[in-house]
């Protein structure tokens, strides 16, 4: 067991925080989120330069060989600085799918372009009203159906789409501008862009199918869990920022002749906020470190973290606003940006109650409920 961040981790965290604190932050967030495009090509080129876009991919695929811990450090810094660039959809979701399913050739081709900042991706996994199906026609596949709420789709150059092929779920990769694909883009509450997508007899060459596994459900489940671990780290960054701002604000704002922080109800509430930040950080790390473990372990840690951090995120953003008073309800402070980010965290990738149910199904087994977190090497 080793729960210390090593020197390289610390360097990565420090450089990420330094870069984003200089180049991003609330004003930039406001500008980018209210722009037509909803992302910044300049920032994208800079983070490609920093190596973040290839971070989790293996070196033979054109990446830098990082893992979930490295991703979590970047995500936390992004949460803290309200970054809405399509990093999660490109690198963690679609990039994750390509890394998990793609053939060597597919991985090298697609991931190298991602790492170089030349291509943005999105992963369409949630069906809309008509589930997406794939059927063989000669050498080609034909895709039809709808996907909804596809994060990062409006700015994506390539789409990765899960589809039913008979009893199996498979994933196809394709350019986003293709005959038969219609994207209906929209802005989300916390700033990023998403799209509902319609696939109308989209013809794809056989090579568009990612890898040759008969069924990709397990890999897709893994990638979604990895995304939850990543957004959980992002939420921790946002929570940390809100707690720190609240403590700072109440230490300077005076009412009734003293700083607000001297009122015991407020001090106690801020302690509760801080405790919840610590819990959230611990849960997010548990999820991050459990991604590569056995599926039950992973699901327990990931769903547990999603539900736990979801609750804490709600408590913290509501308490932060309340404790600021009216100024907390405006757009003048970054508080609102974080609050919306945390609302979106709770809703995206399954609600708190869905994850509680997933967790609860696992701990129905008393053996699992009673087992601690430290692992026997045999089980790791």
């Amino acid at each position: 067991m080793d729960l210390q961040y090593d020197t390289e981790h610390n360097l990565l965290r420090d450089s990420a925080e330094k870069f984003l604190a200089e180049r991003y932050g609330y004003k930039t967030f406001q500008e980018i989120s209210s722009s037509e495009a909803g992302w910044s090509p300049e920032i994208w080129a800079e983070i490609a330069e920093l190596g973040w876009l290839g971070l989790p991919f293996s070196e033979e695929d054109g990446g830098f060989g990082g893992g979930p811990v490295e991703t979590s450090l970047i995500m936390e810094a992004m949460g803290k600085n309200l970054v809405i660039e399509p990093y999660l959809p490109t690198v963690v979701l679609a990039g994750g799918v390509v890394a998990a399913l793609g053939s060597a050739e597919q991985k090298q081709g697609i991931l190298a372009e991602v790492a170089a900042g030349e291509s943005r991706l999105a992963f369409a996994y949630q069906d809309g009203d008509t589930p997406v199906t794939a059927s063989r026609q000669g050498d080609d596949y034909v895709l039809s159906g709808t996907k909804k709420a596809v994060l990062g789709a409006p700015m994506a150059d390539m789409l990765f789409v899960s589809a039913q092929e008979g009893p199996n779920t498979v994933v196809f990769g394709m350019p986003s501008k293709l005959k038969g694909i219609t994207r209906r883009s929209y802005r989300m509450m916390d700033g990023p862009r998403a799209a509902d997508i319609e696939f109308n007899d989209v013809t794809l060459p056989a090579g568009s199918r990612m890898g040759d596994k008969e069924d990709a459900s397990a890999e897709i489940a893994f990638v979604l869990d990895a995304a939850i671990a990543a957004v959980s780290a992002d939420a921790v960054g946002a929570i940390e920022a809100m707690v720190a701002q609240t403590v700072e604000y109440t230490s300077t704002r005076q009412q009734f002749g003293q700083p607000l922080s001297k009122f015991q109800v407020l001090a106690h509430r801020m302690v509760e906020m801080k405790v919840r930040e610590e819990e959230a950080r611990a849960s997010a790390l548990l999820a991050t470190l459990s991604l590569d473990g056995a599926p039950e372990r992973r699901v327990r840690a990931v769903s547990g973290a999603k539900a736990k951090i979801g609750r804490n995120a709600r408590f913290v953003h509501q308490a932060a606003i309340q404790t600021h008073g009216a100024i907390g309800t405006t757009d003048e402070l970054s508080l609102g940006g974080y609050a919306k980010r945390l609302v979106a965290y709770e809703i995206n990738f399954g609600s708190t109650r869905e994850h509680l149910r997933r967790y609860s199904a696992l701990i129905a087994d008393p053996e699992i409920a009673g087992s601690g977190l430290m692992l026997d090497p045999a089980a790791a």
Binding site: Q255, A326, T329, D331
Partner: protein, 394 residues
């Protein structure tokens, strides 16, 4: 004891329903449903206000001598509930609910004769100038100064969070006329015209995306002393009296129920078989039941035009939490669809989508805006402090 309406009450309710059916237009209803802030836009509400005025129903809670309706408390409640159910817009509640009753108690005959009919007719739109940058919860520390100059005051200073200042022609404000003795003892209640030279308004955008409140600056504003309510330095007593109406003056059950009803409808659509969600909604339902019971009991005992008293803090405390929870559960129920965001305001002008999709776009902003319910009109912490004194004698 019972909760049963009499045949006369039923007849009254039917009359109100018929009236609302006739006069609340689809456009008004849609604008109301797409308003994510606290107040209806005056532009939308004024037409309905005029119809109400014609009918003599603008101010049901005012005594008859001032243009009220003479209705019983039950009738007033029926009216409020029916208006909420019908999605009827409300024009400048601040004027009817706070300014009117305050003037009836503290205004001079001249002020009553001048202002009350104007409120009834919808000729004035009022905003509230209490809070200042340095004086929120600690309101009595306010610094905006009024200096006597013959028949006028010269006002200098700044107000903040002034809701609808940009849509108002009049402001009721607290100003400092003395810095001697207790800070509460040097405050005067002053009515001013927003057009007066030296008054400027700067918008503040809420994090729900709406422009509702503002900063208001006073730079050597010359305003007549005839706008003073009560005596010089008597303003604190009047300010507190008005706050009772702000906190507990108008019944909330009708409005809250119409939101709760939308929540129940959304749950039926989005998560009909979810026992966890069902029990959380039920918990909110029993909170609303208890508060409605408390509210109708309280209202049935209150004199026409009378002040709510200390119970106003309790009502404010609980209703504000309930209102927030309704918007919160709505996000939980609707999930990803509620994350869609349209930045333009007002939504009822910006959007042209099927009605159901349009309403989805109001959920996120409403959740954000409603965080302010436990802050405006005196925060929950301040209501709790007041209740410690008034209910427990601490």
């Amino acid at each position: 004891m019972d909760l049963v309406l009499t045949p006369e009450d039923i007849a009254f309710r039917d009359e109100v329903r018929a009236f609302l059916k006739e006069n609340v237009t689809d456009d008004m209803r849609r604008a109301g449903a797409l308003t994510a802030g606290f107040l209806d836009d005056p532009e939308v509400a004024i037409d309905f206000h005029k119809v109400l005025y014609e009918k003599g129903w603008v101010a049901p809670h005012w005594p008859k001598e001032y243009g009220g309706t003479g209705w019983t408390p039950v009738q007033r409640n029926i009216f409020e509930n029916e208006c909420a159910r019908a999605g009827a817009p409300s024009y400048n509640g601040m004027a009817r609910q706070f300014v009117g009753p305050m003037l009836m108690r503290y205004g001079s005959q001249e002020q009553k004769d001048f202002f009350l009919p104007r409120i009834l007719k919808g000729e004035d739109h009022w905003c509230q100038g209490y809070s200042e940058p340095g004086s929120g919860s600690d309101l009595a520390s306010l610094k905006t100064k009024a200096e006597s100059d013959g028949d006028d005051y010269i006002v200098n200073g700044q107000k903040i969070w002034t809701t609808h200042a940009h849509k108002s022609n009049r402001i009721f404000a607290l100003v400092r006329t003395s810095s001697e003795g207790k800070k509460q003892a040097g405050i005067t209640f002053l009515l001013m015209e927003m057009e007066t030279p030296g008054i400027t308004v700067r918008p503040i955008i809420g994090n729900g995306g709406d422009h509702e409140f503002n900063e208001v600056f006073f730079d050597n504003v010359r305003t007549p002393k005839s706008g003073r309510v009560g005596e010089e330095n008597q303003g604190w007593e009047i300010a507190k009296y008005l706050l009772e109406f702000e906190r507990g003056g108008a019944p909330s059950a009708g409005k809250v129920r119409s939101r709760f009803r939308k929540l129940a409808a959304a749950a039926k659509k989005y998560c009909p078989d979810d026992p966890d969600m069902a029990s959380r909604i039920a918990e909110l339902g029993i909170d609303i039941d208890a508060m409605e019971m408390l509210e109708i009991k309280d209202l049935s005992e209150r004199q026409m035009g009378g002040n709510p008293g200390p119970v106003s803090s309790l009502l404010k405390l609980r209703w504000s939490q309930i209102r927030q929870e309704t918007t919160e559960l709505m996000l939980d129920v609707v999930g990803a669809d509620a994350l869609r965001w349209a930045p333009e305001r007002p939504l009822y002008e910006a959007l042209q989508l099927p009605r159901e999709e349009e309403e989805l776009l109001s959920l996120g902003p409403r959740y954000m805006n409603y965080r302010a319910y436990t802050i405006l009109g005196g925060t929950s912490e301040i209501q709790t402090t007041i209740l410690a004194k008034t209910m427990l004698g601490l």
